[in-house]
């Protein structure tokens, strides 16, 4: 199948006063037309920066895409001039943001904001655009769409605003929708409504979409494949079913073990990932997860593991871990039973009690602080 999107070795960095932040550090992935992909990770792991890089929306300065290529539909987005990128944004690639209040313009009516894209990209005249806008609002189940089209964003509730965002994203029949935490700001019952809507629309229009979230529950029911990100890198790639049934990266194990499940019947103790996420100005020299990994060995701190296929797993299942790769010491580990080396765990716990890495770096650089 020809790929719709092919990202190769993407590196996005932010040049700050404290140093260079390696926000996205060598991310590669592909997406076929009509496919749904989930990108999971905690805040600061680079998942949103990846999405913004795809649209070339990284504020510059301080940010810059320093390396890599983004082939969308046969063209390299990174080599286009600004006009060409503008022709793609909102037209072929659309984006749904986390906070629908700050991403809608408060002084323009909803209909004005949706028709803007229609007039610009599809060259519709005003009347046509208005008609299409109302159709779109009906499509996302906004009651009495005709009347509400002339309302302003503040007259809508959070869930309704997110519906408007979805209508706007769909307006030009995009080939790809990037949804960045689309339901994080919403309540669970509203989240269920929005996810249901997204799922149906993606099926109906065969739009490819990338769902970016920190919630493993949300991607479990929504996507075909999942990529797990940590510290600016993809650390595991697999089919959704495979990832939950047979994860192959200690970070993914940690995530799955640390969240309480709604359907857990006994009151088991949670097993948190101890330690703190890495400082992306001075990332760990070896595996990014090594400082928090209970299964670590010497090699993990010295060499950077590649994203490689894992034996005893489905063919397209890849992970960035020396332990689970060919000949590793975690090949037969049952992550549900074996929670790792207790001594290492105690050592990592001490790190939680200590200062975060970025503070240590500032202190090491000799910055003075008010003495007690």
């Amino acid at each position: 199948m020809p790929e719709l999107l092919e990202v190769k070795d993407l590196k996005t960095q932010f040049f700050t006063r404290d140093g260079v932040v390696h926000a996205v550090d060598g991310v590669s992935f592909e997406l076929a037309a009509g496919e749904t992909l989930g990108i999971v990770g905690e805040s600061g792991c680079g998942k949103s920066v990846t999405a913004l890089s795809l649209m070339r929306l990284i504020p510059q300065p301080p940010g810059k895409i320093v390396e890599g290529s983004i082939m969308f539909d046969g063209q390299d987005v990174l080599k286009m001039d600004d006009d060409d990128v503008r022709a793609i944004r909102g037209n072929n690639i659309a984006m749904i943001f986390q906070d629908p209040m700050t991403s809608l313009n408060p002084v323009l009516t909803i209909s004005r904001q949706i028709s803007e894209a229609l007039e610009l990209h599809l060259k519709m005249d005003k009347a046509e655009a208005k008609k299409r806008t109302i159709e779109l609002l009906e499509l996302v189940n906004i009651p009495s769409a005709k009347k509400r089209a002339d309302d302003y964003p503040h007259q809508f509730s959070g869930g309704m605003r997110q519906r408007v965002m979805i209508a706007m994203a769909l307006s030009c029949n995009p080939k790809l929708i990037l949804a960045d935490e689309p339901t994080t700001a919403l309540d669970v019952t509203i989240q269920a409504q929005i996810l249901d809507l997204l799922k149906n629309l993606a099926r109906e229009f065969r739009t490819a979409f990338i769902l970016i979230t920190h919630d493993l529950g949300v991607v479990a029911g929504m996507t075909q494949r999942i990529h797990v990100m940590y510290g600016g890198q993809i650390v595991e790639k697999a089919d959704t079913g495979e990832l939950f049934a047979n994860p192959k990266m200690p970070y993914t194990w940690g995530l799955l073990r640390s969240i309480p499940r709604l359907d857990e019947s006994r009151k088991a103790k949670l097993l948190p990932i101890e330690g703190l996420p890495p400082d992306l100005i001075a990332p760990p020299p070896g595996c990014r997860f090594e400082p928090r990994c209970q299964y670590r060995r010497e090699i993990c701190a010295q060499q950077v593991p590649e994203l490689k296929h894992i034996p005893n797993a489905k063919p397209d299942h890849e992970a960035r871990c020396f332990g689970t790769q060919e000949g590793g010491w975690l090949a037969n580990t049952d992550w549900r039973q074996d929670v790792g080396n207790a001594k290492e765990l105690e050592a990592i716990k001490l790190e939680v009690a200590d200062l975060p890495p970025e503070m240590k770096r500032i202190e090491a650089a000799g910055e003075t602080r008010p003495s007690p």
């Binding site: 905690e42 805040s43 509730s157 869930g159 309704m160 309540d187 669970v188 019952t189 509203i190 989240q191 269920a192 409504q193 996810l195 249901d196 920190h214 919630d215 493993l216 529950g217 949300v218 479990a220 029911g221 959704t240 079913g241 939950f244 049934a245 940690g254 995530l255 799955l256 640390s258 969240i259 309480p260 499940r261 709604l262 359907d263 857990e264 019947s265 009151k267 103790k269 949670l270 097993l271 948190p272 990932i273 101890e274 703190l276 996420p277 716990k349 939680v352 009690a353 200590d354 200062l355 975060p356 503070m359 007690p372």
Partner: protein, 345 residues
């Protein structure tokens, strides 16, 4: 706990405020309305936000009561009204036999030593200009518990208890990560050796991998210091994990209150059922098989709540009676209360 049949019948028509002798906190008909005013010089009251509108519940010594609901349902207001951070409009809050709403300033201040709060946002709830030592030490001075060297030692001990380096007393909040700041907030609450802690969404501002660290810390502290928690959260999975009993709120009212397993396995109120079915489960095998109840519409405004049952505008079971008569909060099974005309599956 077993309940004698006659005792059960006797209180089955009453509200959820029975006294088993173990109650640390009794909340009776608590109302918290915020006035809406109009006019610049002469402010007329034109209405009220009925944030909490008549709720009854109790918290037993040593247990964790989870309070769940969507944003704007009044769960945080309930927590604050219990601690008298808001002056309740009406109703009673009885803490260990003492009615709090009628207490004066000085006696209330003394009671406050026994009840503390942990806030949601660890970035906003710590004063950026105070050192960690001063933040944790302040309640010790306010309540005359320790000063000077004893205070410093106590602060270091508290930092150790919450899993932080005891030598951080001279540092400022901005030097810590979110999870560490929440630990500082916990240490501050523990400083006065309280019996009761209201934890208002203590983990929702934290990252997934850090949430479990804080949940475990709260559980360990509960065992160690025999604490009683009112745990307010919107995440039903977390509430299931940490609570002994759970209360579900909707638009200023408690619609269901039951033991943890009872509520999650056999929810009686349609709102609880919808809420539970809406939570995504991180397991595609389970997720594929689940039937989801998708509620239509949004939560109505608490300024002008629907007549009768407040949930009837979104309820798929609603009949005529639901829009006319407000259902009573009744004990349908032992220790399982619900306010619904048609409870059950």
């Amino acid at each position: 706990m077993t309940v004698q049949p006659d005792e059960f019948i006797q209180r089955s028509r009453s509200t959820a405020t029975f006294d088993s002798g173990k109650n640390l906190l009794d909340v009776k008909a608590l109302k918290m309305h915020f006035p809406l005013t109009q006019g610049i010089i002469f402010q007329r009251q034109v209405g009220a936000v009925r944030a909490v509108d008549g709720i009854d519940f109790f918290v037993e010594k040593g247990e964790t009561l989870g309070l769940v609901g969507e944003s704007g349902c009044g769960k945080s207001t309930t927590g604050r009204a219990i601690l008298q951070l808001y002056k309740p409009t009406s109703g009673e809050v009885v803490f260990d036999g003492v009615e709090l709403t009628k207490l004066g300033g000085e006696s209330m201040r003394k009671m406050r030593r026994r009840m503390q709060m942990i806030f949601q946002d660890p970035y906003a709830s710590l004063n950026p200009r105070m050192t960690v030592g001063n933040i944790i030490g302040e309640p010790l001075e306010v309540h005359n518990l320790a000063s000077g060297k004893a205070k410093t030692e106590r602060v270091q001990e508290l930092l150790k208890i919450v899993g932080l380096n005891p030598y951080f007393t001279n540092r400022y909040p901005h030097e810590f990560s979110g999870g560490q700041r929440q630990r500082i907030g916990v240490a501050r609450a523990l400083a006065v050796e309280p019996e009761f802690i209201v934890a208002d969404e203590p983990i929702s501002a934290l990252d997934v991998s850090i949430q479990a660290q804080v949940i475990n810390l709260l559980e360990e502290l509960q065992d160690k210091f025999k604490l009683t928690y009112l745990f307010i959260a919107h995440d039903l999975s977390v509430v299931r994990h940490i609570s002994d009993r759970v209360a579900v709120m909707y638009l200023g009212k408690i619609v269901e209150l039951a033991d943890r397993v009872d509520l999650y396995e056999h929810p009686l109120h349609p709102y609880s059922q919808a809420l539970l079915s809406a939570v995504p489960i991180p397991d595609p095998a389970v997720e594929g098989k689940r039937k989801r109840i998708i509620l239509t519409g949004d939560v109505p405004s608490p300024v002008n709540p629907p007549t009768g049952c407040r949930f009837h505008t979104r309820c798929w079971k609603a009949q005529e009676i639901c829009s006319e008569v407000d259902p009573e909060f009744i004990e349908h099974a032992p220790r399982h209360w619900a306010a619904c005309h048609f409870p059950g599956a």
